[in-house]
Subunit: 346 residues, 4 copies
């Protein structure tokens, strides 16, 4: 059994990592850290894990941490991650970092959207952890930057169109909706049950969400040219799920059938990407609790636009599940080990 550590276990990505890893046949969780809950069993913080996960939360410095596992997930906020990851790598460990700290290849862009970066040299070494695009590099990586939740849905959704230059990237509009786990587990009035339930609202409108540079980086890489997008996130009254609705003008007319074939060809061999047969459409409830990304592509013949819809579970394919998928690749395991479960519906 490979020994695995979860750094920052008391958030929603932490409990989801623990849930997934608890039935993973090749690894065992040997250490979990949490400043706030140090000394408590993780299953006391999250009673869902009772009798299934035995690890006790500890408050450890990287020095104390590094010998406790062979592989680490860092599920801490950005800025905190960039201080924890380097000593783990220096000790010869492999790391999947779930924060934003190693996702942006251009440090200047990172610093413009976040803050100063203390380990720019590691940024170059990190691989962007979207297996459907970077599988080969991930297999050889020591440090994988696990993608953001919104970017996972958007990049998987647009890759076939952008890579093949089928749309005008200047017309790209992305309207995304996320479940509330995406807002984290900190006490705050804005995410109280009564503020969110039976409601719906946009936030960070007008090009200000920090996932924008990440999406533009990957779309630009796929396109070969700089891509600038309009992106608007919204908060859904659901626990889990992201649905992104994406609009662009086709460079030249295409049929629905040609679009459908493009998507089926692109993702035919992917275990976790499921292309909806026409005229089915994705729904967050159909990927709930799974590592699946469901995609559909539609043509608006009246306006010459293509509409792509992508649904994921934001804390599985959008975070912890994709992190385990990356771990599997980095450890030479079958990519779907521990992630075979079908979605929960209802």
């Amino acid at each position: 059994m490979i020994r695995v550590g979860i750094v920052g276990a008391s958030g929603y990505t932490g409990v989801e990592l623990a849930r997934i890893l608890s039935t993973h046949p090749e690894v065992e969780i040997t250490v979990a850290t949490s400043r706030q809950y140090a000394g408590k069993p993780l299953s006391e913080v999250f009673p869902s894990l009772r009798d299934r996960v035995q690890v006790v939360c500890e408050n450890l410095q990287p020095d104390e941490l590094k010998d406790r596992a062979d592989f680490f997930f860092t599920a801490v906020p950005h800025k905190t991650a960039m201080d924890i990851v380097p000593p783990l790598l220096a000790a010869g460990k492999k790391v999947v970092d779930l924060s934003a700290d190693f996702r942006i290849r251009d440090v200047a862009v990172y610093e413009q959207w976040y803050q100063a970066h203390s380990s720019p040299e590691l940024v170059r070494q990190a691989v962007y952890g979207l297996p459907e695009l970077y599988r080969d590099q991930i297999c050889k990586a020591d440090l994988v930057a696990n993608p953001g939740c919104y970017p996972t849905s958007v990049i998987l959704g647009l890759a076939p169109l952008v890579r093949n230059h089928l749309i005008d990237p200047g017309t790209l509009i992305i309207d995304s909706k996320s479940g509330t786990t995406g807002a984290g587990r900190s006490a705050s009035v804005a995410t109280l049950y009564c503020e969110v339930a039976d409601g719906f609202r946009p936030y960070k409108v007008g090009g200000s969400h920090r996932h924008i540079p990440e999406m533009e980086q990957e779309l630009s890489a796929l396109s070969g040219n700089q891509v600038t997008i309009s992106f608007t996130p919204h908060l859904l009254p659901v626990n889990r799920g992201i649905l992104s609705t994406m609009y662009a003008r086709l460079e030249k007319p295409m049929t629905t059938q040609a679009l459908q074939e493009l998507y089926e060809t692109t993702y035919g061999d992917e275990y976790f990407v499921r292309v909806c047969p026409q005229p089915a459409l994705p729904a967050t409830q159909h990927v709930r609790g799974s590592n699946c990304c469901d995609l559909a592509v539609s043509l608006d013949e009246r306006t010459g636009r293509v509409i792509v819809m992508a649904a994921i579970d934001n804390i599985v394919k959008g975070a912890s599940g994709q992190a385990v998928q990356n771990m599997n690749l980095m450890l030479g395991l079958a990519e779907n080990t521990g992630l075979e479960g079908a979605p929960f519906f209802p």
Copy 2:
């Protein structure tokens, strides 16, 4: 007291009409029809109305109906409405029709999206019941076509930009999300609690929703030119609420402040349209149960796009509340009579 009738009282717009009218100081409900629940008190169909609404459901033909009230709301499906409205008008009654049957001025367009129209001459006579645009005509009308829920949010949201030619209408993309009351009260698997709860999905993607010609009609009238839009509706796991997020490219650069002033000037005197001060954003939970339409306008300087967000309660301002607002105007009452209540939060 003016005698008011509700034709088709057993749907969600029916119960909402009854709720609003039950405390309206100038009218009384004298008749309510329902084929399915004929003989039952409406308050047995909807126990929320117990001791507040006394009317008993009846199954009546227009002939029997017409003398039972002075003013009628027809809250029946399209196609049914076009057969009921003419005899009521012929009997000298005033009518607000909540169906789509009298909204589309061009009968050919109506017939293309719906089916054959049996009263094309009445279409010309009907006034589109968006008081913020057509107040004067509504005051004089005998037949008002109450707008669709999505169109109400979209037209109010875009009117200031389109009327002043500030955006390129060819770039208009409208991404709307609606609560489940919008799907009606018929038994169906697709709208069961377990199919909708904790989930989110698009539907009628690719330019096929029947509210499109209605929105294009009104935006074209505002613009002076034919406007064609991309419109995608989604189903929210909430009872009440629509939020529309609308994107377009500015014809020439504007500041956020100029945009904000445009909206505040346009709607400054409107009781039911509330422009959010910068940087506040609308939320469906902040209009819940009220006839308010909350608007915000944002600038995406990175892409030169303007983003407009509109939130309404789909069965109040999107249906029954707006119908009462229209009735007030048609009867010469203060426009907000019976509609003064602030939204319910939480």
Copy 3:
């Protein structure tokens, strides 16, 4: 217009008071206090109130407060209330206190369940604000202790049986379920959306909830003997609503019809208590947003038990609506002024 003040306006009972009072024809809100939001319009704290409520939050001491209104609602936590109420009364103002501080007539009992009481003399002067039981005293009172949410549902539900000695009070079991507004608006992990949604749980099991002495006080007064109850509260994933299910053994056999008549007779003249006709049952969604208490009584012939069910909106009849009902009585207004609205469904 009578000038009214809300002390502690930034909680969920505060916003609900403001919503109800905003359309009350006889009063105007002239002052609202909030330490946290001092200087902000209340409608900025709660955008639902935008353009409907003009008052700005202030951080005021009782001294500064007392001349700003003629009538006060104190919607602050227990212990805080007992310091604010006395100076307001001393200044000749009338007060409805929404905290627990003046509900328990026996100060020793209060101090056992809460903490030391600084104004025991006022406790004797206060009237328990359940109008259906204490209407005459409330009309003459200067200080009304507004009942707790659970007790309102339970006392109204059991009064007919207990007062007439029809049940064995030693067998009383009360299983109550409350919406999450009951937990208040403080930032806390336990009431985050993701902790509550799609879930259900009991809390304060085993006779520890502080509403127990309040219920036992009133049931004992009705019975003429000391009543001790088993009470278990649960947290519902809804915004508003309490449903209490109450069980007791009948002292001697009764028919369903006799029970039904008892309830209809008891509450026949009450505007806010609605007895469901057999075999209808109450539901929180049928009282949502209203000051109604819906009751049903059932017989379990197999066990000789009676089952009473009571549904209220916990922040209306369980808090702010009942507070306004009390205010109306104290000011000599019609009891239902400003509270005539039918419930919101759906």
Copy 4:
């Protein structure tokens, strides 16, 4: 691989069986029946199963069915089941029946609560499929009657007290709350999203729910005497989950510690029953998606009552998960095969 068939695959227990079995290492689904969806892939009925479950729905008679699998789950309504099960057994197949048809050992009682029974001889042969009580018999059974959802929570919760004669069974009151999957997947107005969401209500009050004879049968067997209970079910606005709160008077005083030890001793070796450490309490969100039953026991010293709380996922431990647990025992597999997953939270 053992070939498994699902008879009645298009309900919520059907999709949950398919989800669980899709990753079960020892079985494969070889046939699934549905009259309504015959000819459609099950993954088209439930897109959550896309690419994970390949079976196509068929409309088959028992004759055609019997050779298509070695083991059958019958997930059809009561009365239908009693006609399908006998030919499968006659063909030498093993069956777990999820309906009520073989749960009640006394056919007269069955016929009083349901309708005439066509296979009374099989009732004697069937084993009640609660493994924690009947493990040995299940291992040898050909026909297992899978328990009802409410009874599973109630019997597991009360067994330690009843079997040891620690409570007065005449004082037993059971207040249960169920998620909406329990109401099935038929189109109906009462279970539409808008009728259930943001609401809560009791149903079948007064000793009329059909799970009562099943609970009384098992509690009586544990007690050695006839037990009669008061049972009230309620409908929760959640997809999955039952929480039962159970009250009884202790025969003689016990300490909390003694009660806790009783439960921990009783269930210490059970993989799926988790006794909450004092003072933790169960919550449906902590068992969601798993085969766990979480229990807590509390003492109300003021009244001498014990309160037991049990939480399960109604379509896993309350239906399909328990059915697979039974299958594992009947096939000689490890009891938790395919059921090791920790609950989903949030």
